[in-house]
Symmetry: C2
Subunit: 171 residues, 2 copies
Amino acid sequence: MDGLGNSASIDMPTASAHRVSSGERIHAHERPGRLQAALQKRGVRLTRQRRILLEVMDNAERHLDADAILERARKLDSRVHRVTVYRTIDLLKRNGLIDELDLLHLRGGQHFYESHGPRDHIHVACLKCGKVREFESRLYEKLKKQIEQDCGIEITMTRTEVGGYCEKCRK
Amino acid sequence: MDGLGNSASIDMPTASAHRVSSGERIHAHERPGRLQAALQKRGVRLTRQRRILLEVMDNAERHLDADAILERARKLDSRVHRVTVYRTIDLLKRNGLIDELDLLHLRGGQHFYESHGPRDHIHVACLKCGKVREFESRLYEKLKKQIEQDCGIEITMTRTEVGGYCEKCRK
DNA sequence: ATAGATGCAAATATTTTGCCGCCAG
DNA sequence: CTGGCGGCAAAATATTTGCATCTAT
């Protein structure tokens, strides 16, 4: 049941941060921190709170919003301020290191972030149970090429979010 | 320069509402109002303010946010309240008559709305000049079918937003 | 030493809610 | 007539900004 599409079931964000850890293939960054390395290479100043925030985002197994990031960061070091979370998110966005998602605003108006790897993917959400999974497809890559050609645009970011009812929730 | 892809250049939302009126093919609802007709058929009560709001949305040549809708509505009848705009948007969403877009939050956190026709389309935005155009493609339809199959989901809504730099802005 | 980062408080921006009087059907 | 609808004020949610202080380099 997959073929082209990769998948990773991910729980919807909740205030109570608990991982589902669906095991393998979450993404692929472990100890040193991809984000931290990237910023360092760009000569960005690495402060105590940045290190913590980057670690949180690097190790997140699901899409976190600002609030969830803050919560996790504070478990590591309570001296992290909410404003710093927003400023760090902004820094990472400006450097093109993370993607901002809305996940169809299933639970409010906030944004979710993911440290984006090399491959684009689609977010597929069940409107009933809230599960979100990621999906990659060659067709998607083809579609983007078509858009670039036909619209004469050079694409730098994409966001595809699909909502519907999953197998379980249809029964 | 088109083929599969339909296109319609649309200005980015601005406080000062002025239409670009790129002429033909904006969508396809004129006088009586597709939205109004749809609600009437469903037996929804049609109040003075609803009629106005539906007219505004039916005749919009570009994607409007709540504020722009209010502004236009007030030009027709100043007795329309902001809260009513939100409640009407909610009504239309619940009835599946409009789509909610973020347009990549090019200008803030607000949402944009469009009275959706039968065909899904992709929103392609230039990150520099802010122009948004719509794009339809058979490939997109195929992709959705693939997602339904591979993810076992029954898709009820999709949102694809693409950002990049258009021909003019690359020069 | 110093440019840039953080903390704190307050401001913004956007959307939602409670309550009560009003109007479309 | 009456139940849903709209107005108003206030709350809620999400994010940003000004300014003084601190710190990584």
